[in-house]
Symmetry: D3
Subunit: 258 residues, 6 copies
Amino acid sequence: MNNSVFLAEMTHKEYSEKVAGDNPVVFIPVGAIEQHGYHMSMNVDVILPSAVAEGVAKQVNGIVAPPVVYGYKSQQRSGGGNFYPGTTSLDGSTLVAVIKDILRELLRHGVRKFCLVVGHFENYAFTVEAIDLFLREARMLGVDDARVMAFSYWEFCDDPDVLKALYPGEQESWAAEHGGVFETSMMLYLRPELVNMEAAVLHSSARFPVYDMFPAHKDWTPEPGTLSCPAGSSAEKGKMILDDCVAGITEVVKKEFA
Amino acid sequence: MNNSVFLAEMTHKEYSEKVAGDNPVVFIPVGAIEQHGYHMSMNVDVILPSAVAEGVAKQVNGIVAPPVVYGYKSQQRSGGGNFYPGTTSLDGSTLVAVIKDILRELLRHGVRKFCLVVGHFENYAFTVEAIDLFLREARMLGVDDARVMAFSYWEFCDDPDVLKALYPGEQESWAAEHGGVFETSMMLYLRPELVNMEAAVLHSSARFPVYDMFPAHKDWTPEPGTLSCPAGSSAEKGKMILDDCVAGITEVVKKEFA
Amino acid sequence: MNNSVFLAEMTHKEYSEKVAGDNPVVFIPVGAIEQHGYHMSMNVDVILPSAVAEGVAKQVNGIVAPPVVYGYKSQQRSGGGNFYPGTTSLDGSTLVAVIKDILRELLRHGVRKFCLVVGHFENYAFTVEAIDLFLREARMLGVDDARVMAFSYWEFCDDPDVLKALYPGEQESWAAEHGGVFETSMMLYLRPELVNMEAAVLHSSARFPVYDMFPAHKDWTPEPGTLSCPAGSSAEKGKMILDDCVAGITEVVKKEFA
Amino acid sequence: MNNSVFLAEMTHKEYSEKVAGDNPVVFIPVGAIEQHGYHMSMNVDVILPSAVAEGVAKQVNGIVAPPVVYGYKSQQRSGGGNFYPGTTSLDGSTLVAVIKDILRELLRHGVRKFCLVVGHFENYAFTVEAIDLFLREARMLGVDDARVMAFSYWEFCDDPDVLKALYPGEQESWAAEHGGVFETSMMLYLRPELVNMEAAVLHSSARFPVYDMFPAHKDWTPEPGTLSCPAGSSAEKGKMILDDCVAGITEVVKKEFA
Amino acid sequence: MNNSVFLAEMTHKEYSEKVAGDNPVVFIPVGAIEQHGYHMSMNVDVILPSAVAEGVAKQVNGIVAPPVVYGYKSQQRSGGGNFYPGTTSLDGSTLVAVIKDILRELLRHGVRKFCLVVGHFENYAFTVEAIDLFLREARMLGVDDARVMAFSYWEFCDDPDVLKALYPGEQESWAAEHGGVFETSMMLYLRPELVNMEAAVLHSSARFPVYDMFPAHKDWTPEPGTLSCPAGSSAEKGKMILDDCVAGITEVVKKEFA
Amino acid sequence: MNNSVFLAEMTHKEYSEKVAGDNPVVFIPVGAIEQHGYHMSMNVDVILPSAVAEGVAKQVNGIVAPPVVYGYKSQQRSGGGNFYPGTTSLDGSTLVAVIKDILRELLRHGVRKFCLVVGHFENYAFTVEAIDLFLREARMLGVDDARVMAFSYWEFCDDPDVLKALYPGEQESWAAEHGGVFETSMMLYLRPELVNMEAAVLHSSARFPVYDMFPAHKDWTPEPGTLSCPAGSSAEKGKMILDDCVAGITEVVKKEFA
């Protein structure tokens, strides 16, 4: 029908033939519905890992499963906090169950190579837990050769030139990123209609103490909900980031799943 | 930024202002990743209820939350069976948890009018359970005025002219629908690139006994995985169905949530 | 001791010898405690599938396990709604766990042929989920040959003469049945002391829209709680139904578990 | 319809009027399906607490809810062990959920006085847990006046004359009871057709060490599965026990729920 | 490093060599944080089974895993009741999960001989459930040779001389023990700084009816929270108890795990 | 009895009077049983946060609850990996339940100020989830004024002099810490008998790629299990760290809970 890398866009016949034939890596983007400031839509953490997964899948003849759309609760020091209207999150146990169920179903299809592409920092620990429980179940079902890779895609953005372009004069990095130049540039490249740079607010990067309070002090988060300022974002930079991540991930995927 | 009805495409500010101002109905499509024969992609049950929800939301100034992408296990007598590769399903408890968590988060945002748009028959019982548990939790949290509507969108396709166009000579109806003329026509209208009519297989409608066997007798399901034949599908018919469903749902939404 | 087909009425020795010797089908009635109008007791959905199971077990030399007495929440369009006092229901996860645990224990006893006799429409989806989870666990425990049948017993009432007797002039069927002529006749045959026809209320069959509202509009349900009128019920008709169901089920049980 | 004390045998109207009018105590027998030796059926732990509950309910104008039929796993030192075929038990979490769900539903009906009549020793701890979780939920739902009584019914058999009749020469008591003279006599009184004294095996009372081994040493349990010998059982003794228990329980129920 | 029997005080190398070499019994104390009257600290049920486990482990060259510190809810007839401030308890499902997880991890390390040393009566049923679920999981993981012992340590205190010293003139025994002479003497021997005999209150042993009420009648429990009087406690008696328990347990551990 | 800050070492009377009088902060150390190389015991992550909590509690007149002894699974990039024998971890859902139960019980005692002192990096996300679920439950129970602080204690080690002493020439920090100079120094100060510096292995700090593989490549972890080399550790440095952390935490606890 088409040459989509997306499981959802294949027929079951196309999919099962590909799985049976190539033993492909199946990528699962793990996103979130989370506010990303006054200037961006709330599906950033779904769009970005999906684009990264698509890019890598095309390189390695892989398959991209539908993303996990809803993710774990936004934390103040990494995402502004879950108290914003619009941010729509799952309990940890729910997210673990979703990921585990998907992995178990893919295993049933014959898949043995899995790659979780996390697009929302707060998902990571629960993704890891889901993988661990999945592998335990797989062993119970008599399958010993399943192998799973997991990462937060932005950690592969390590090209010095890219980093310098993104963070020219400062010691900033994506460590303080939430709705800043990193994510905004990628969105400008991938889905510009969901970004309104005129609504972006200039503010210095958020500085948090080294502890959390619950309920949160809402005023610790910069008022727009972003943790660093998106000023200077551009589609060009977004492309650089995407290319850097795709290249880096492709390399390790090839190496690990050779 | 844009005038999207989709929560995911709004900023948190746009969303929260709309919720605070209009007390809008929020629609949640509840889909599935399920094989739909040799001629269609596996995201049919996500695309169709999303389109219906979008259509209604535009009529009633509502909001469409991101769909529940993965749904409950396909059953042989309604969807061919869960044994097909590609069909990727959640356990019942997981689906219940996902829907309940989403409802709870929307409640926190201030939403009080909810509408579950089910696009996959097997989801219905678990959607109902999620709603019941959600309302119990809402009461525990001191909220007494939440109201929830739920339906399988196809039940609103009841215009005799539409039904005659779809099922001209026979006693068929959408009761035996899975990948047949109903869904295929809608896909041809909404996402024609995901349909390949040349791969459609002519076969008579599936006839099942009135019981289930587990593990399933795979040969009870027509070989392509569809339960009735998609022959005769057209985008025009798809538009008729969509319009009929949107009109019918709009009417009851207005009536119930006035 | 006796020649009971009921597991509960056997000694463990009688039971284990029968299981070891005959590899019998074990039937599990899955009922509910649910209002059935002003004229009947609330254990209808336990009594009827138990009688059906007993009838079939006697034909196929099977065993009837104790019924699941409490079932899933009554839904308005199939049972009037769960808001009635007296209707006493389990959460979905609880019902799934009960059925799964029973199946796992029977498996431990050596049983490999299971038949779930559902007597309450709302139980069906959760019964299916329990079976699916059970079979997964059975595989984990190294058992591959367990086979499970499931049905709603009334779907086997298909003898045209019986149907004509039950629904003489109209297009009604058991589709709108809840406390109507179908169930009432069976109760009059099986447990007449639990039926008081004088308290039965004449009313036309319930007509529901194709959606649900939660909390329910209580006035959508006919005031007595029945969905169709029990007038015309008789023990004779009840015997016809029971015989028809037992015959039909016996046939498929023999066929499937030969 | 009838004057039954059993919720299951009332119409919803009879039940709701009684609950609204008298604020009655609702009794819930908590039983088990468990082997009781070569001479008795496996429903002993359902029948006996149901009879006790019925007896008390008649004295205090109470209601008896349907029993919890399946209970917790038989333990070797109190019931012989769960390894017997026929003994069909629930996981602890399942039993807790069943009891909690029933209590929550009764609360919804307006009931505020609950009495759990445990008929199987191993159920007790899980019954208590269910009550505790139920009361927490009740508080969350804004109900502060629910009160719950729980006991193992046999602890009310304390009339010295009865005890002397049951255990004439020895230091035995119901502490070592499982399928012995206590339960057997009650069954002979209540359901003699389910007892076959000719199959009863003479053996001395089981003596266990003060620890458990898992998996169990099966040979620690006397071969028939009973822990003390049923010789000397009689319907007359059964009536004495039942009367003694009913009298004692009636007294404390009246006192606590006055 | 040291010759500790405590897993927590070993290096992973010391531990893994011991497990691989000796196939040792691993002991897991299962305690609680529970009030023990005006005269003792709230960690009694952790300290005592840990000391017993240590004593036995030294005799059989075993290993003591870190204790389960928080246990199940105190019950009025065995521990005074959970309504006391300071008593800090887990839900039953949580305690089951903790014990099961620990057993599963030890199994992964290669341990096959497990001994649960319960120090809090109310833990026992949940400990048993955890063991049963663990053994089921072990079988699913392909391990068939795990064996688990469980007991409440005080049941091994059966030396007539010790019992006479503890309960000189009366018919009391540890059956009514909670914060009485048994536990207080052991604490005086093991951790005298946590006992203040001057704060001990003279009172007669608690007498409870044979049923429970929830919420509890707080005044059923003697005011200090102890169920029997600690007067007459001494470190010497504590040593006698400890020695008696260690000796008895050592004997059965050697016998069962030879 | 004593002036302990430890809940476990108080009587219930001492504890309840303190809670009622001072509204104190209650600290809960959240540790783990995890290998820490060839030179240290496996209870490091319990001992260190307990000591920090004790130090702060003494400054602010707080209370230290018993630690959560078993924690979440060790991850390769932060703790070497969970594949080591001896590392004994809980599933995520179990850890969440334990922490939530403890918080709920403390709330019942009247505590409103809570501080989670995390001593094992992998616990953090699950600790946060437990707090979020706890606060939801507290609201359901009608309590709105509970406030919870959480942190990983080592993040408060920020005195430049201390950091220079610990990491003299390099760019290292506690970011790569697991069994290195940071933890080893604290153990040498607090529990020197559990450290054997002679067994410490010289190795360069672990370098991991930015992704995880499951099952882990065991050889990614330095052979002893430590991630950085403990050489140069001293009790003096340990005291500096402890003092720095206690001072920093005391300051924010006073500020937040004034």
